[in-house]
Assembly symmetry: C2
Amino acid sequence: MNNIEKPPAAYSISELANEFDITTRAIRFYDEQGLLSSDRRSGVRIYSPAERIKLKLILRGKRLGFSLGESREIINMYDPSSENSKQLQFLLDRIREKRQQLERKRREVNSMLKDLNTAELNCITALSELAVPTRQKNRK
Amino acid sequence: MNNIEKPPAAYSISELANEFDITTRAIRFYDEQGLLSSDRRSGVRIYSPAERIKLKLILRGKRLGFSLGESREIINMYDPSSENSKQLQFLLDRIREKRQQLERKRREVNSMLKDLNTAELNCITALSELAVPTRQKNRK
DNA sequence: TCTGACGTTGACGTTAACGTCAATCAGTAC
DNA sequence: GTACTGATTGACGTTAACGTCAACGTCAGA
């Protein structure tokens, strides 16, 4: 017998809330807004693994500064449920649009990291000069 | 004589608003909140190039999902105005903390870009199968 | 001097994204 | 049955980040 943990086939609302460290209220809100869809077992929400992934995508989107509406759009990009060519071309355009946004974000994250590096260096320098204030310090 | 554009030594509120495509109200709000500081020429706000940079940092932060409070912290990381070693060490810790956040954001941006790529491929495939629905399509 | 563009300060309104609370129901444990 | 746990649906409250509007100041140009 093997001890590998099987991924659950379904999740309760509080399981998801605990896993992602959010409140059930938030999940219910996403549900109301149609970002998640849930089966009901006598009124009680039950989420499939696919919905759990959607939730992950929503939270990732939030951390990157996307609104819930934008995250909804992004999620909808993953299934080409639209069948006709016009819709597909439109979807393709929006995918490429989002890519532009994300590449900008990537550039800005990198630039911000560079800034932090120099800030860190300044900080370290200031610290070391505090620690050894007189040794070999040639002042004019 | 040369025709190079000298960078202005000062900016009015509407100049900045136009440059960054935001409203003067937003700038005034940042000013109130102490994210920007302004000289006053008979009541009228005047911004230095340094404040203009701060504004850029604020907007970049927003696009990456930072709150105004977080952006304020990040901006404050760039000048080691605190002199004593304790403060500097604390600052250093927070810099490294922010770096963690940013590196996570970077990973997530990259992962999101990958997702978009596969979404694009799916879309393109669906399109091409629509365009040539009968040719060489071997169905079981 | 009057006008118009641009600025100011309140003060209140708005939207997104939940938080909070109350009343209620459904399954389990004793 | 009863008590407890965890879920539900309203309904209203809250916070951040501005928008909007009114009333007013200021300064250059005709």
